[in-house]
Amino acid sequence: MTDLTTDNAGPGPRNLTTEAVKNSLGRRNRKQLYLQGLGIAAITFALTMLFILIWSLVSTGHHAFTQTHVTLDVYVDPEEISEENLPRGGFSEVLLASMAQQFPDIDVSDRAEARKLSSILSDGAQFQLRDRVVSDPSLIGQTVSLTVPLSDPYDQLNKNLVRRDTPENRRRVDDAAIARFDQLADRGMISTPLNFTLLTAADSRFPELAGLRGALVGSFWALLTCFLISFPLGIGAAVYLEEFAPKSRVSDFIEININNLAAVPSVVFGLLALAVFIGWFGMPRSAPFVGGLTLALMTMPTIIIATRAALKAVPPSIREAALGVGASKHQVVFQHVLPLAMPGILTGTIIGLAQALGETAPLLLIGMNAFITSAPSGPFDSATALPTQIFIWADSPERGFVSRTSAAILVLLGFLIFMNAIAIFLRSKFERKW
């Protein structure tokens, strides 16, 4: 800046400033544009990735929201099914007989041929028929119209997930099977209604019968346990640390460790839970209650940190006002500061719980990835959770689980979005301006 120090022959200092600003203005504006461009590029990239993720999930997952069914006229043969011994009746034979009616060219007395027919229907079909007859035994000897799911290969075929132009030896359904399916379709017996089984049934070996009920109920109990433990404990710890604890090396040490705890990989909490809850205390394996305890270990640091931030954000003027009229320390905290911090605390808690809902690793370690075909009736029953169910399905070889895995992920994402929406709603509703 030598020109600033030259003799006063030139323009005055004010002109010099104007000149300097003018000279640097272009550079400064360019920098700003550059930064803006970078920001927009980053956001575009993030949105593209998000779109790709959702699109890939929806494009594979939407198949799982429908299920191919066939509507059959079934003669409930009194020779196979008797009222005295209903549960052990020959329901599969009855179904086979009605299928044989559709395909008279197939010799049902040959076991291999019979298998070809019975494999069209889902294994669950006979149980569906059984339930129907058990609830109404007068159906014995009559013909009922029954809509039952098709087995997975035929479901895939109906959804065009099995391509007919692939060579027969590389297809799961051979040409004869396709012909039989087309015959059924031509007779208008095939329908593809919404797949409520996905939400109402528990897990199954057969994709067409598998549902998320067990996982949803398991996740519910685990989250409830997690909330009931981590919320009061987290708030209690945060209030003590923030409002009452004397500032000392010990409290600093505790603070650092809580922050570290929030960053500990979740699988470590799983190992801890396995050793302590299951190993020492002998709690049941695969139980949502133990899962909730484990998740509480992870959620608590999050809640403590969120609560402390919310308590800090309450303006000191409110504390002074309360102290000024003679409120004691605990009255200040519990009657003024804590209520004002509640929206922030709730937001932090919900986000912590949403994190816990998606957590897989610790639940795997305590056995919540077991194969369980009924929904738990309480927090101490064996169960899976949503993320571990996704894990199980992703691991299963049947084709039908591919779309079901994506569908389960969509369900999980739906719950996460719902919980975060609640957090945003609470924040905007109770946000105060001082």
Partner: protein
């Protein structure tokens, strides 16, 4: 209003309410108050004036032990209220603050209804026997805060919805609702417009009949208008303390003179 008018002085003396002897206040290593001796009279408005950072607010906050909430703050020396040492171990700060009310620089109503703002103090101290009693206390406090007429029809509305001047008068009503004996005011008008300031000053003058009022102010005109006694603080020292009229017309210390004539501060 003539800004430099000096309140009519009543030379009759009152009992001593607060009395400080060799008061020192430290924030960590820094000494904020460097030995103050002062006697504050009952039923008098005492103004603390002085340049920024001179320790007047710090001293004010010693009088109801508000400094206790600051971890690094340490107070030595004796401060007595009616002859009782307020830093004695047997005195609970809660008890003291019920006796010594405080109004802050920025109006700070609780984010609750107007009624609850005023009723809070009496409620926690158990001053009201029943609901009707509490209603009476609230009304009396709001009347004394000169805000009753403005809010009597909307007691259930939030106190934060009032204008700045109304909020400050609400805070004064809240402070007097617990029937304190002393009212500390830390620059109560600094966030208010001139009209609201005039209302609050008028109110202070009325409160004098029942309370000992101590007011910290940056405005010398305000000190001259509302106070009978004035204390001038400078760099942690109490430089001069006396009748307001004396301080403003005939200061004894050259620093006081420099300050009130606008040369320091």
């Amino acid at each position: 209003m003539n800004d430099m008018r000096i309140t009519e002085q009543r030379v009759d003396t009152h009992e001593i309410k607060f009395s400080g002897r060799d008061v020192h206040v430290y924030y960590g290593e820094t000494e904020a108050i460097k030995g103050i001796d002062v006697d504050i009279e009952d039923k008098t408005v005492t103004a603390f004036i002085g340049p920024s950072g001179c320790g007047k607010s710090t001293f004010l906050r010693c009088l109801n032990r508000m400094n206790d909430t600051i971890d690094i703050c340490r107070v030595t020396g004796d401060i007595t209220l009616d002859g009782e040492d307020i830093y004695d171990k047997r005195i609970d700060p809660v008890q003291l603050r019920a006796k010594v009310g405080m109004v802050f620089q920025k109006p700070n109503p609780f984010p609750k209804s107007i009624y609850d703002n005023v009723a809070y103090g009496p409620k926690i101290h158990g001053l009201a026997k029943n609901k009707a009693d509490l209603d009476d206390i609230v009304e009396r406090a709001l009347r004394r805060g000169a805000i009753w007429e403005e809010v009597k029809d909307r007691l259930q509305e939030p106190g934060t919805g009032l204008s700045g001047g109304q909020q400050q008068r609400l805070c004064i009503a809240r402070a007097v609702a617990t029937e304190p004996e002393v009212l500390l005011m830390d620059e109560p008008c600094s966030a208010l417009d001139p009209i609201a300031t005039a209302q609050v000053e008028e109110l202070i003058d009325e409160l004098r009949s029942q309370y000992s009022v101590i007011i910290v102010t940056h405005s010398m005109q305000q000190a001259a208008r509302v106070s009978q006694k004035t204390a001038f603080f400078h760099l942690g020292h109490l430089v001069e303390f006396g009748e307001t009229s004396e301080i403003f017309t005939n200061p004894k210390d050259p620093r006081t003179e420099s300050y009130i004539t606008g040369r320091i501060g």
